[in-house]
């Protein structure tokens, strides 16, 4: 039920983005094809991860659960953030609605949750909670909780990628590059420590998975998480350096 609803929603979001980009092109305004590709890539990753077949496998096999988690919580959010959906949305909405959205984005609440350190806690903290408490077992038994966990990972993953990159959609927080990079640093460390704790001590416990499967999943979490965070780090530095380069060229032009 949740899977079909989610698939419908993702396809709608994919179509809406392409539609909005086409409106921009028709109006003679530029919108990068890379961004469109990035958004569609994110949608396809989510469709793969939430397809009923994957859901069924992930329910019984912890390795599949982990692969699904990597895609929903780390890879897809990065692709979606790089597509700058908020900028496109602001451009596409009528003026009043865009103003309202801007006010919402600048609200104290959004500024708070999108700060890199808060997003870090929402993202990695939730993971520690899920795997080191009976929450994971409860999520296997309740479809609603299960759906909620997936939604949380997608939103928290998106929030974290956006807050660390502070772009391409303009950030609403004012955290420095150093703070953003240190949030990423702590995230990588927390990820790898959690994976080792799961591997070594067999968490989550009291679940219907074999210990061998849990260890394989923990290893997938370690290396897969590294890969996803490596991509995020590359995006972070690439964006910081291109900004720095642009500033230098500007400074030289002024001199």
């Amino acid at each position: 039920m949740f899977a079909w609803l989610a698939l419908g929603l993702i396809i709608a979001l994919g179509a809406a983005y392409v539609g909005a980009a086409m409106v921009q092109w028709r109006a003679g305004r530029a919108w990068s094809l890379w961004r469109v590709a990035s958004w569609l890539c994110g949608c396809l990753l989510l469709i793969q991860a939430l397809a009923p077949g994957t859901m069924l496998l992930a329910h019984h096999d912890f390795r599949w659960h982990m692969a699904q988690h990597l895609v929903i919580g780390m890879l897809a959010p990065l692709a979606l953030v790089l597509a700058a959906p908020i900028t496109l949305l602001l451009r596409s909405l009528p003026v009043n609605a865009a103003r309202w959205l801007t006010a919402l984005l600048r609200s104290a609440y959004v500024r708070f949750i999108s700060h890199p350190w808060v997003a870090l806690v929402l993202n990695v903290g939730a993971m520690w909670l899920l795997y080191l408490t009976p929450l994971y077992l409860a999520s296997l038994q309740s479809p609603w909780l299960h759906a909620l966990v997936h939604i949380h990972f997608l939103l928290a993953g998106y929030l974290f990628c956006w807050s660390v990159l502070a772009g391409p959609d303009q950030a609403v927080h004012s955290a420095s590059f150093r703070r953003r990079a240190s949030a990423l640093f702590l995230s990588i460390a927390a990820h790898s420590v959690l994976a080792k704790v799961m591997y070594g001590y067999g968490w989550p416990r009291n679940v219907p998975h074999d210990p061998e499967q849990i260890r394989a999943a923990a290893q997938l979490m370690y290396y897969g998480g590294d890969f996803a965070e490596l991509l995020l780090a590359i995006a972070l530095f690439a964006m910081a350096f291109s900004r720095h380069g642009a500033e230098q060229t500007e400074a030289r032009a002024k001199a």
Binding site: I188, S192, K196, G200, L230, A238, F241, H244
Partner: protein
């Protein structure tokens, strides 16, 4: 960095920026060869104390970020035409050797996160491991000497 005059950086910066690349490459070699291919030691063993896992996690994170940052810094130097290749290679070797020795002494012996191989006397492995690290450092140092010497002769021939 703000004091750069017209984009010229001292050659030592090429070395400095290349250091983390060497560290990251060595760490990747360790993970790929010893953890994945040979499976001599796993990325975690049951005898590891908590402080070992946490410090290992922080180290791992630092390596990953340092490699990416180093690559971008070196590419940045190259784009400004301020990259001194020999100095950069010296940095790569010094970083790789330094990491190897650090891993051999701190991780294997002081924190005891893991040994190189189990069910054998690790002494021989430890010696070879650290010796390779020292050889890498020696190559790095030799490259550094070469680079700084050619730098000096270039400065002499150019005149004041």
């Amino acid at each position: 960095m703000r004091n750069d005059t017209g984009g010229t950086s001292p050659p030592s910066r090429s070395l400095l920026y290349a250091l983390p690349i060497g560290i990251g490459v060595m760490a990747a070699v360790d993970e790929i060869i010893f953890h994945q291919i040979l499976q001599w030691h796993h990325f975690y063993d049951l005898a590891t104390p908590t402080i070992g896992i946490i410090s290992d996690g922080l180290l791992h994170s630092a390596e990953l970020l340092a490699t990416v940052a180093g690559l971008f810094l070196v590419v940045g130097l190259a784009r400004r035409g301020a990259l001194f290749k020999r100095w950069a290679w010296a940095g790569v070797f010094l970083g790789a050797g330094g990491f190897q020795v650090f891993d051999g002494i701190v991780s294997h012996k002081l924190l005891r996160i893991h040994q190189i191989r189990y069910n054998v006397d690790p002494l021989m492995y430890d010696i070879v491991w650290n010796a390779i690290g020292l050889v890498l450092i020696a190559i790095g140092f030799w490259l550094y000497r070469q680079a700084s010497r050619s730098q000096m002769s270039a400065a002499h021939s150019a005149g004041p």
